[in-house]
């Protein structure tokens, strides 16, 4: 059984997001594998280590050249090989799912792991759209997963609370916090990863044009009032805050 694990490369959470003109400019910004996708790579490795008959773990990224770094990280964590569909074109999640679904078919993958909500485009759509294109079931916001034969069991979050589930492969699983603690690649593994296959692929062969046009982006920093009170006298500070909330902001009664 093969697992396809999707990788997006996003600005490090602490990095400043900059605009150039009306688009996001990542030049010079520290970019990393999306934390959500890291859970996916880790989970694929753990499924294999649990004896679940995993033959191969393939990491896939669609995006600009710099994504190679994120793929190398996945390889250093333990993925067997990587596919990079290199493009500077901006695809929306639903269009991108076409590429993922096609690749899953040609690679004969039976399980796809995707981050629950990617930190660049704040979207939860990629896993679901990929599942639909393949005609597979999906399990989103998964925080516990087991695989025995072709049977998946686990737990995931829903609108209010969580559910335990059962499903049969093939399936798409979206990952999130709590699923696992991703490992750090060790130096020997980083060296080994340099020799693993990183195949380049061409977006043009996928017929995946974006259906959503990007018009512009803005960084809106709402000016905050920043009235900070010294709490040395707790009673006075509390009274002052309540007064501000009641009479200035008028948000409480």
């Amino acid at each position: 059984m093969k697992i396809l694990t999707l990788i997006r490369q996003v600005p490090d959470a602490e990095a400043r997001v900059r605009l150039s003109g009306n688009t996001i400019d990542l030049d010079g910004t520290t970019v990393v594998m999306d934390g959500m996708d890291e859970y996916g790579v880790e989970e694929a490795l753990r499924l294999r280590e649990s004896g679940a008959g995993v033959d191969e773990i393939i990491a896939l990224a669609v995006g600009p050249k710099r994504n190679e770094d994120a793929l190398r990280t996945a390889l250093a964590m333990g993925a067997d090989r990587a596919v990079h569909v290199e493009t500077d074109e901006r695809l929306d999640a639903v269009s991108l799912s076409k590429v993922v679904a096609e690749l899953a078919k040609t690679e004969n993958a039976e399980l796809i792991l995707v981050g629950g909500q990617e930190a660049d485009w704040d979207s939860q759509a990629l896993g679901a759209a990929t599942a639909e294109r393949l005609g597979w079931p999906q399990l989103t916001w998964t925080n516990e997963l087991k695989l025995e034969g072709d049977k998946l069991t686990g737990r995931h979050d829903v609108d209010e609370g969580n559910e335990s589930f059962e499903a049969t492969l093939p399936a798409v699983v979206t990952t999130q916090q709590g699923l696992n603690e991703p490992r750090y690649p060790t130096l020997p593994n980083i060296m080994k990863a340099k020799k693993k296959e990183l195949r380049k692929d061409d977006l043009a062969s996928y017929d995946a044009a974006s259906k959503v046009k990007f018009i512009g982006a803005e960084i809106q920093t709402r000016a905050r009032m920043n009235k900070i009170i010294d709490g040395k006298d707790p009673q006075a500070a509390a009274a002052q805050l309540i007064d501000l909330l009641r009479n200035e902001a008028k948000v409480i009664k």
Binding site: A13, S123, A128, I219, I228, P234, A238, I252
Partner: protein, 316 residues
């Protein structure tokens, strides 16, 4: 027609549904505003929906008792095709954002996800949405005969009832069997105001100290203010509070009038869930904590001293 998929729970229409009606009206697109109600024993929900819509389609069946992305997507796509909907709006809840992409694929339509505003733009629709952990507001445009949209909770004002109640129709659907079997459920309902509906939220972070302190002072303060209780991931990971209360990237997105953060550092992943609150209040003993950068009001002090004083002061 504009097709809206109702969100409801416990036999009641959720505020999100009224928000979607406002979003639909704002598109300026033609055709009746139609609400689709999926579920079992949803007559009450359907009549609540009729108050704000031109028409309500009701699919009330045992096979819809349990939500499933596959079933919901099939139902919505089927109705959208038969009714020739040009716009399909789903809630931006976890479930809504889970089946909406499947609907978009089925209809071969562009998908505008988690939008905060909508307007028509010639042949298509323009929308704004947040990206990069809600630090960026992006404008996107969908062109095509049909567009699928999910509307971010709290971004549109709830619609007022229409002049006349819409007609209700029962619909029969040909639904696939979900291939996911649910073997257990744990609903983390709190007796307090739901975070998505609360005007005021009091959130505790690791600085609150322990689970007991949540009952000792976070909850009483919330009660005095008629507020919902929220938590950071650190608190949820520590098992002090249920996951249902987590606010942030992997928790809930909230937009109350006042967000009161007690002992919360203000990590970007947390800010991405609450940074759009109207007024942000921070109480933290570290004057350098990042949360103060986004605060309208703040107190530099120990929550153990400040919160009991706030409980007193908020009584009057």
């Amino acid at each position: 027609m504009i097709l809206i998929v109702a969100e409801h729970a416990d036999g009641k229409l959720a505020k999100a549904t009224l928000e979607m009606v406002t979003a639909a009206r704002g598109t300026g697109r033609e055709g009746p505003i139609t609400i689709l109600v999926l579920g079992q024993n949803v007559a009450g929900v359907a009549s609540e929906a009729a108050a704000v819509a031109d028409q309500v389609l009701v699919a009330d069946s045992a096979s819809l008792a349990q939500y499933s992305a596959e079933t919901w997507a099939a139902a919505v796509a089927q109705i959208a095709q038969e009714g020739e909907a040009h716009t399909v709006i789903t809630p931006g809840s976890r479930s809504g954002r889970e089946y909406a992409p499947r609907v978009a694929v089925k209809l071969d339509a562009p998908y505008l996800e988690d939008v905060i505003s909508l307007s028509s733009s010639g042949a298509g629709l323009q929308a704004q949405r947040y990206t990069y952990l809600a630090r960026v507001t992006e404008t996107v445009e969908a062109q095509g005969a049909v567009t699928v949209i999910s509307a971010k909770p709290g971004s549109f004002a709830p619609a007022a009832p229409a002049a006349a109640a819409g007609e209700q129709y029962d619909v029969d659907l040909d639904l696939p069997q979900s291939r996911v079997t649910i073997t257990g459920k744990s609903m983390e309902k709190s007796s307090r105001v739901a975070l998505s509906e609360a005007d005021v939220i009091v959130t505790g972070g690791r600085g609150v100290g322990n689970a007991e302190n949540f009952s000792k002072f976070v909850e009483p303060l919330a009660d005095n203010l008629g507020a919902g209780v929220g938590a950071t991931r650190a608190v949820v990971d520590a098992g002090w509070r249920p996951y249902a209360e987590q606010v942030g990237q992997t928790g809930k997105t909230v937009q109350p009038k006042a967000y009161i953060a007690l002992g919360v550092s203000g990590a970007v992943q947390h800010l991405s869930g609450m940074g759009k609150s109207k007024f942000i209040v921070a109480i933290n003993k570290d004057a350098e904590a990042p949360i103060f950068k986004v605060a309208d009001y703040g107190i530099v002090g120990d929550v153990n001293e400040i919160v009991p004083a706030l409980i007193e002061a908020s009584k009057r």
